[in-house]
Amino acid sequence: MLISELAEQVVSGLATGSIIASMALALVLIYRSINVINFAQGEMAMFSTFIAYTLIDRGVPIWISFALTVLIAFVGGVAIERTVIRPIERASPLTIVIVSLGLLISINGLAGWIWGYDVHAFPSPFPQTTLRLGGVVLSAQDIGVIVTCLGMLAVLWFFFGRTRLGLAMRAAALYPTESRVLGIRVGWMLALGWGLAAVVGAIAGVMIAPIVFLEPNMMQGLVVYAFAAAVLGGIDSPVGAVVGGLILGVALNLMGTYVSFIGTDLRLPAAFLIIVLVLVVRPSGFFGKQSVTRV
């Protein structure tokens, strides 16, 4: 095992990891508002990516297409919360899980109806060149993905930690009643959370699409890794989701390359194992709050 090869594997793992981290963060954003995992997160991202694809296909410049896609994703996320999630906000976990599965299946079907199930190549926004850094060969694609995702995460961190709106959103998710008393419009804050989660998903979607190709089922693998990352970091912790995603991306890449028993086939079962182990041994993950319920 060469050190330079190891470094290359780590960087390419960080690229996948930062995309997993973004998806995991989107899951956490929604988990904090309705206490349920949004199973449709991956399909929402897939649908946004198809919108970007259509725009690029019609000749819109690639970065402008991305900006438009982000805008459309935001509106779509808010609309889903207002129409589908609102009526069942306070329902049992079973109801919310099934409704989010309903979203998953119908968004998948809608994409299949509009764009078909053929596989499309998605253009990469980054130059297809490599950089040499002291004997280590890095692809510009990987670096671009890492910079984009981490940049987005930094913007979100600033938004939630330093702006009034971000604070209001956090308050609405954690203390709905108290927030309402203080004049925060809790319903709209939750909808805004869905909008933001959709935006984060859309960006993750256009970042992963050049690697996995575009088709309605493209997100099914990635979303399981995102579940594993979110669980690993603690499902209610944004920092945990990001760290979990990066660790998972690197670990899966290294295991796939160096542990021949796992190879590429057993990556999904490995993610499944991580989910089960963490949930059984330490349900709050590494960064999450231990949940205590009064009975």
Partner: protein, 303 residues
């Protein structure tokens, strides 16, 4: 008629209808009905586990895979007939379901859904990876082909048996305990219901039903492959139990018929029509009629 006798009417009508059906419909339809019977068995498992006991499993397809592959491997390499292999498929999936059920004791609500979703996604890569026993991506071809009426009789005969067993089980102490644990586990436990055996048993039983269903599907198609039992199948079974009606034995039958015949009808509109209809139906049912079709029919008949 007494109310008890009135409740029997739809049952008798259904039994007569299902007994006469294979003699009046064409062979290909009989074949499709055989699949509906198999799905009914798997969905009945979810009726017990998710409907009656409140544990969300998105991994029912994994246990169908266990049952289907048990039958396929026994038939392919040891020449076992389905009649012998189906009970063994049930036992294998019962044990696997019990193991998953023990793990599931630590997981509640959405977390269980998450873990079983990951299980459903893992099935296909696991089967492909252990190709020396499962035949890998090419799958296993079974050394027999059966008449559609035999398949029909097998599927619906077994479905009827499982419905009867489940009805007996759920009408008494076990059913009450499972429902009590679903509605409020702490309250149920303080009334002396030990959650551990009941919840584990519900998981194992529902897995056994799924295993039988998988074995029936394998018998009917005379072929199993990793992609037969993927996430799609697990989701389809959840769709069946929700649309048919959670916590209703009739719901399992309705669900089995819906998931077999709705895609066949919807395909003529568009390849994606099934998913779109399923997805929208799931959302609407949960918001408007949480009891599914069976629940809605029951409400209508009481008016």
């Amino acid at each position: 008629m007494t109310p008890q006798a009135r409740r029997l009417v739809p049952l008798i009508v259904a039994v007569v209808l299902f007994a006469v059906l294979p003699f009046v419909i064409p062979s290909f339809l009989t074949f499709q009905f055989a699949f509906a019977g198999a799905y009914t068995c798997a969905i009945l498992g979810l009726t017990v586990l998710t409907g009656t006991n409140g544990q969300i499993s998105l991994g029912q397809g994994a246990f169908m895979a266990a049952g289907g592959y048990t039958l396929a491997i026994l038939a392919h390499s040891a020449g076992w007939p389905p009649e012998l292999a189906i009970p063994l498929a049930a036992i294998v999936s019962f044990v696997l379901g019990g193991i998953v059920g023990v793990v599931a004791l630590r997981l509640t609500g959405a977390y269980l859904a998450l873990a079983t979703f990951a299980l459903a996604v893992s099935v296909s890569p696991l089967i492909k990876r252990f190709g020396w026993i499962t035949g890998g991506a090419q799958g296993v071809t079974l050394p027999f082909s059966r008449d559609s009426r035999v398949l029909y009789a097998e599927s619906w005969g077994i479905a009827a048996l499982l419905l009867l067993i489940t009805w007996f089980m759920l009408r008494g102490r076990i059913g009450r305990s499972l429902r009590a644990l679903r509605d409020n586990e702490i309250a149920a436990a303080s009334f002396g219901i030990n959650p551990v055996p009941y919840k584990t048993f519900a998981f194992a039983l529902s897995a056994a039903y799924a295993g039988i269903a998988g074995a029936l599907v394998a018998t009917a198609t005379a072929y199993v492959s990793p992609d037969t039992f993927g996430l799609q199948l697990s989701l389809t079974l959840i769709i069946g139990v929700v649309i048919g009606g959670l916590d209703s034995l009739w719901g399992a039958v309705i669900g089995g018929l819906v998931v077999e015949f709705l895609p066949l009808a919807a395909q003529s509109i568009n390849v994606a029509a099934t998913s779109l209809i399923y997805g929208i139906a799931l959302i609407l049912v949960m918001i408007l009629i949480p009891g599914g079709i069976a629940g809605a029919l029951r409400t209508l008949s009481r008016r």
